[in-house]
């Protein structure tokens, strides 16, 4: 009897597993269908939308910037005023959870119409998975710089998003401290080292650098190292497959990072970015390297001194310096959205001057829309510098693929450099090895 009962139970369990398994299978099929019908919508969507145009359409917008909710309320009300009949529901998620939530929404094909798109390789991945509507023909998109559009392209070369947010990595410095000590803003790397030595003699930590989170190391490398590897010339060459990271120029840029170690805080590999910021705010440190988005943080912390910035270095006195510039995000339309026409209207708005101005004013960020002048004087200078003399954040913009991503491999190797596990040439070698696994040169 007992065995019979046990047998019955096993059969019941198996049945449930099978049923659930079948459900799962159906789901997958459903997805495939969803994608297919999504395609259908993209083609035949216009007719469908035209029929229902008498009613209000609400678009759901996914964002990774909860802190910008207030700013977007202003921006969205402007859009709604310009486009009666379309409402936008701003739905922000925590930045660290955004990718997972967005991927799930896209995979299930429901809930999301408009989305903030992470730049470069992350955008390419979503475009290649056929989750996004191509927007290459969108009115107004042609006024955006081609190098910014690169942040929202699929492998097929099509544009799948409208870049709306730029970032610049720069060297912020305590202007009051520099002036009090008669220190001049350095133009070249050699002058920068001299400034650091001068500060050190004054008992001030030259650069509030932290190294616990690897991305801060690669960002600092982008700023301090670009003049060593030869700025855009090297960038173009390495992207075209004509140069390698193991080339002397790039190794030198890594060596520069090691050479500057004495000017960073003690045990800086152990300290976090917020500790580094504290050192800068408390005037224990004179400089701090980060993105332009930190200007907002400075404001929030009510600093007791003037902040200014300088960019990467000129190769020689009087030469041309470059500002590290990259796209921080784009707006895109989910292919499964039932309101393609309305969603594309929003993207059109994003590419327009009125969005650029509003965005730049309400959120203190740099907009890629040409001619939009940020109100903040520092941002305005960054923008004007990046029009003519931008250099990309090479590792983020072109080498953030692979498993593990080459960018991460490089950042971890930089930690290894400071912990004396690797020398500069080995760091470059680790990066090249990682890149070799997936990279195909782009012409």
């Amino acid at each position: 009897m007992k065995t019979k009962k046990a047998y019955g139970l096993v059969v019941a369990m198996l049945a449930i597993v099978l049923v659930l398994g079948a459900c799962g299978g159906n789901n997958n099929d459903g997805n495939a269908n969803g994608n297919a019908s999504g395609n259908g919508n993209a083609n035949g969507g216009n007719a469908e939308v035209a029929e229902g145009s008498g009613e209000d359409v609400t678009l759901t917008l996914y964002s990774w910037r909860p802190e910008d909710a207030e700013g977007y309320a202003t921006i969205i009300s402007e859009f709604e005023a310009q486009n009666p009949g379309i409402k936008v529901d701003f739905q922000p998620y925590k930045s660290s959870e955004y990718n997972t939530i967005l991927n799930n929404a896209l995979l299930s094909g429901s809930g999301v119409d408009l989305l903030q798109l992470r730049p470069y390789d992350a955008a390419t991945a979503l475009a290649d998975a056929d989750y996004l509507t191509a927007v290459g023909d969108l009115p107004g998109i042609d006024q955006l710089d081609e190098q910014y559009l690169n942040a929202a392209k699929g492998s097929d070369g099509e544009v799948y998003g409208v870049p709306f947010m730029l970032n610049n990595a720069v060297i912020f410095y305590n202007k009051t401290m520099f002036e009090e000590n008669g220190i001049e803003v350095p133009q070249t790397y050699e002058a920068f080292v001299a400034v650091c030595e001068q500060l050190q003699e004054l008992g001030i930590v030259p650069v509030a650098q932290s190294g616990k989170a690897g991305y801060l190391l690669s960002m600092t490398h982008a700023v301090l190292g670009e003049s060593a590897f030869g700025s855009n010339e090297f960038v173009d060459a390495v992207v075209a497959g004509e140069a390698k990271f193991t080339d002397e120029a790039f190794v030198n840029s890594v060596q520069r990072m090691k050479d500057l170690e004495p000017f960073f805080p003690n045990d800086f590999i152990a300290i976090e970015d917020k500790d580094a910021q504290m050192m800068f705010y408390n005037q224990e440190a004179a400089m701090y390297i980060n993105g332009s988005h930190r200007l907002e943080t400075f404001k929030a912390n009510d600093l007791q001194f003037d902040v200014d910035f300088f960019t990467g270095f000129a190769p020689e006195e009087g030469g041309q310096s470059h500002i590290v510039t990259w796209v921080d995000g784009s707006f895109a339309v989910a292919k499964t959205s039932k309101h393609q026409e309305e969603a594309l209207k929003f993207l059109e708005f994003v590419a327009s001057d009125s969005f650029g101005k509003l965005f730049s004013e309400t959120l203190t960020r740099v907009s890629p829309v040409p001619g939009v002048e940020p109100a903040d004087p520092l941002l305005a200078r960054m923008k004007s510098l990046s029009v003519d003399n931008a250099v990309p954040y090479l590792i983020l913009a072109h080498f953030n693929q692979g498993a593990p991503a080459s960018k991460v491999a490089f950042e971890d190797a930089l930690q290894g450099l400071y912990l004396d596990y690797l020398d500069a040439a080995q760091v470059a070698q680790e990066l090249q090895d990682s890149v070799d696994k997936w990279f195909t040169p782009q012409s």
Partner: protein
Amino acid sequence: MRKPKHMKHLVHLFLLPALVFYVGFMMVPIVSALMNSFFSWKGLLRDQFIGLENFIRLFTESPHKETFNRALGHNVIFFLVLVPAKLMVAYLLALLINSRIKGKEWFKTIFFMPKLLSVIVVGYLFSLILNPSYGVLNTALRAIGLEEWARPWLGHPDTALYTIILVDSWYEFGFAVLIFLVGLQSISREVYEAAKIDRATGLTLLLRITVPLSMPSIMIMTILTFISSFESFELIYAMQGTSGGPYYSTDVLALYFYRLMFSTAGGGEAIGLGSALAVILLVMIATATAVSMYFFRRKAVDY
């Protein structure tokens, strides 16, 4: 006669709700991870069936091979250090509490208290305590003249892993004390009395009676510690982030799994590799648990 028998089977129906959850949240993910590990991936989309290639790549291809071995090594260290740092300490404390000590209940509560905090809170708390510049630990060391002992505990590869393991044992040992206490309290007084009549004392009592008879609780705790060592993730994630830094010195298999699955920007083959790693972890833990249970069972003593 028939009806009650029929009713008897009906009882099984009451298992259904729990079973649905178990199957839905345990079996389905496990089976789908297994399936996913046999495929290549294009970003988020399943591509082609490639058999065991994901597994082979994890074991043979650089840098996966090195990362896997290093992370596995750290898991083993985790377990080996936790046994003395957590289990032995907890067992000694349980013995003390079980002897006729004053304030028994009070101690039990105190020891168990850390476990009431969330791991993330513990991680954050200790990263403040261990902060190299303003952390309490280094400040205290400097204050009592042990300046050369002050160091970036979490920032140097030599100390980071061990520091985290010690934090973990602080967090977990109260639970072990409780389990050991239950084991110790279940040993019948008569056995001790009989032994005392045979003039057994101190150490003999401990080694011949107390330890063997509390073997079931020791077994449970060892196995649980083994499983938690190989699954360790939250605390390291909270204290060091996803990269298991500095320079991979605190990297463990679960963190590597997380990186493969969730933190590769461009995607690629990461989901296949991640699923393969998850399957390997499951098999490893299940096998080791089964084997150790078999040996512990054989050693079980009964008087």
